[in-house]
Symmetry: C2
Subunit: 458 residues, 2 copies
């Protein structure tokens, strides 16, 4: 069989770095959420672009699927292997290749995690802003077009990847973009690979924009009488052009989970968690203006944290929200759904979602990057109970439909993978067929992460 030939071929240059052990396969066949196990046939651990190219060339010759793997935190089964094949785990390609302070950019291998990068940058006065909560790899983040708490200020991976090195479906190495801050030199190939979930090629190097560490940072939590009031405060703040570095919504159910998990004592009300970056005077001014806006929308119990340790505790609490929510129903499975809508519709969409979940008897706490109109629910269920499974799927379905009806997208940041595949035609119409045509042109044998994102081929 082709797959055995390929594995044998890979061992000739990877040696022990290609594995078929059951534990490795299972580790690379599972997801963070509710998807069943879909293991690859083998896991390869390349250490260089050349090795990645040789892996893909071998797979191309034998038409064997190739699936990239960062740290497997993606939430829509992007990194799983429904059709088997070779999982390319980038954990050994984790070098920070060059930091250029004057240009505020950095070149990294794809297996570098965002926390490792920021650790390394600490002394330079620079940082990489995109923050999906999980300590994901930069390759995985580019592949899913990740964003997070700071996107409202600094953009998502779309805005922060300057250039890529990519191994294409034929095993060729290409470079896209450059270190120039902007370009009009042809089709935006960098932008095409960002968000393509490994279906067009494997990213072997990334050049990223960095930001200067702000002179001053102030974070705060503030309770609101309703989600609508909280969102109204966010809209006013954005309209006044007050640049927020972060603005997060945590609903009542999430607050309760977080209190229980992190020992915090937030009131049982929707909260905004926010952060301002700037000069000392600038941050003070913005905080004051925001305070007034929040108050006018019923915001209460404002607490500002300017000390790093207090701020870190606040954001650790936010970043642990998913784990806190999971811990609130031990043993339950989680279906995470992420949508994004125009901000003027956000409050209504969240409120309708809450009502819907209540009526359906589903526990589904909500957190959101509200400055972008983006929010998530974690729908908890018992996967041995068929009624619950179908209720949760139906509720998630309605949430996605609601997002589309309100001018939004079926996924703001988690991506398509298998979980959102069925909504692609609804969202994009014949644009989805166009994505399929691009895939066909760049990966005619359909070996790059097959079964994901584009229309299925037979």
């Amino acid at each position: 069989m082709g797959i055995q030939t390929v594995i044998a071929e890979l061992s000739t240059f990877l040696g022990q770095r290609v594995s078929c052990s059951k534990s490795e396969l299972e580790l690379h066949g599972q997801s963070e959420t509710h998807f069943p196990l879909m293991p690859p046939d083998a896991v390869a651990y390349p250490e260089s672009t050349e090795e990645v190219a040789k892996i893909v060339q071998a797979c191309a010759r034998h038409r064997i699927p190739v699936i990239g793997w960062g740290v497997g935190t993606s939430l829509e089964a992007q990194a799983q292997a429904p059709k088997g094949g070779i999982c390319v785990d980038f954990s050994r390609m984790n070098n920070i290749l060059e930091v250029r302070q004057a240009d505020m950019d950095v070149t990294v291998q794809p297996g570098v995690t965002r926390e490792a990068l920021n650790e390394d940058l600490r002394a330079t006065g620079l940082f990489f802003p995109v923050d999906p909560g999980a300590n994901a790899t930069l390759g995985g983040m580019a592949a899913t077009r990740a964003s997070g708490t700071t996107t409202v200020r600094y953009g998502s991976m779309r805005q922060n990847v300057l250039a890529l090195e990519v191994v294409t479906a034929s095993g060729e190495v290409i470079r896209t973009g450059s270190r120039a801050r902007k370009t009009s030199s042809g089709y935006d190939l960098t932008g095409l690979f960002v968000g393509s979930e490994g279906t067009l090629g494997l990213i072997t190097e990334l050049t990223l924009r960095l930001q200067g560490q702000p002179e001053a940072v102030a974070s705060a939590v503030c309770a609101f009488p309703s989600v609508g009031n909280a969102v109204a405060a966010v809209i006013d703040t954005i309209q006044m052009g007050i640049p927020m570095a972060r603005i997060e919504l945590v609903d009542v159910a999430s607050v309760e989970a977080v209190n229980a998990y992190s020992g915090s004592e937030l009131d049982a009300a929707p909260h905004l968690l926010l952060e301002f970056h700037g000069s000392d005077a600038g941050v003070a001014e913005k905080s004051e203006t925001f305070g007034a806006i929040a108050e006018s929308h019923g915001g209460a119990g404002f607490e500002w944290a300017t000390k790093a340790e207090d701020r870190n505790a606040l954001w650790a609490m936010r970043h642990n929200a998913y784990h806190a929510i999971k811990a609130s129903r031990p043993g339950a499975k989680v279906l995470v759904t992420d949508v994004c809508v125009p901000i003027s519709n956000l409050a209504q969409v969240i409120e309708e979602t809450c009502l819907d979940l209540e009526k359906s008897g589903i526990h589904g706490p909500i957190v959101g990057h509200v400055g972008d109109g983006n929010f998530h629910t974690s729908l908890m269920f018992d996967d041995t109970d068929a009624t619950q499974v179908s209720a949760v799927k139906a509720a998630s379905n309605r949430m996605v439909e609601r997002a589309l009806a309100f001018g939004g997208t079926v996924t703001g940041e988690h991506g398509v993978g298998l979980g959102k595949l069925n909504y692609m035609e609804r969202e994009h119409g014949s644009g989805w067929a166009m994505m399929g045509a691009i895939k066909q042109a760049l990966d005619p044998e359909n070996i790059m992460n097959p079964g994901k994102l584009v229309p299925p081929r037979n």
Copy 2:
């Protein structure tokens, strides 16, 4: 002949709105710069997406080239018709369809110019930031991935187009993107069409991000002893995280042209023109900090303008720089070259370019969006003098090679068209072939603006 059949077919639904008059053809066959006349066979003036689709369908049936036309200000012959065909002039599709204040977005037809849009937005407290100097159309700006003086703060068309309606090469109408601020829902088709210069489809509608008009604005001019000093001041400012809304370099030759044309009295030295947006206190603070940075790099003769009319005069002077430069050599032709490099290399690249031009005896004033590492030269020549023509072409060639050698791109914002076609392989290697594969997949008959941007097909 196919073209006559198509023109006859178009007249059935466009009536007088398809024209073959010599003056119309010449108007749509010329460029702002040195390219010779390349007229289309006919010019069509559609008034709706449906009409555009019918035009493209007719052309597709007969394999006739279709070339979009905004106002023809592009600088690399993008809108000219080297292979004849139907020029689709969008001037009658110039409606602003919907402004959504809470969401800070707007939907427009492609023929709306940026000045018309901002005029319309004035009362809303919002504005559209991308500013290529020329009063270009938003369709043309998206097609060339335009940027300009404010890109350092607000991004280029890449960052400011949320969604598009496009008529594809087969005459089908598709929609890309949505009004959501971000999305991970599949390949970035919006990003693919932005910058594709009409080679993949015609844009018939755009949804754009807007910005809040800042509470306070301060502009300034400041002279520096050398380009190197000016750029060093820019780098320091960016590194300190001081958000500039604009930061423009004008070299000595440009200053002289501008003084003569606009009656200004700037010293014969390189100047920075800059602008800050924010709150009153924020702008004052930034201005002060910048003043100190500039001084430490030899900046002198600082003049701040906070009154709208003084600021407008300043930016009118900057926007007229191209005309001022043209006027400084009446009758001369101009070859405009635009490159973009990492900012740490900018001073050296500009200085080497100046020396090169001096040695070559070419008059080529330089202006630049230096915050992005982007600059332009306007190389003046007499097109009846073969020696001058080849000297200018060689100098422009060296400038492009220099940009690539210093990690940059052959065009920061003017695009590829015909003028930069020969450099695409140099810059992108086999990435250029990948662009060709995408073009082949989406426009198999090669009718959309043929001869531009991608590798020529036979």
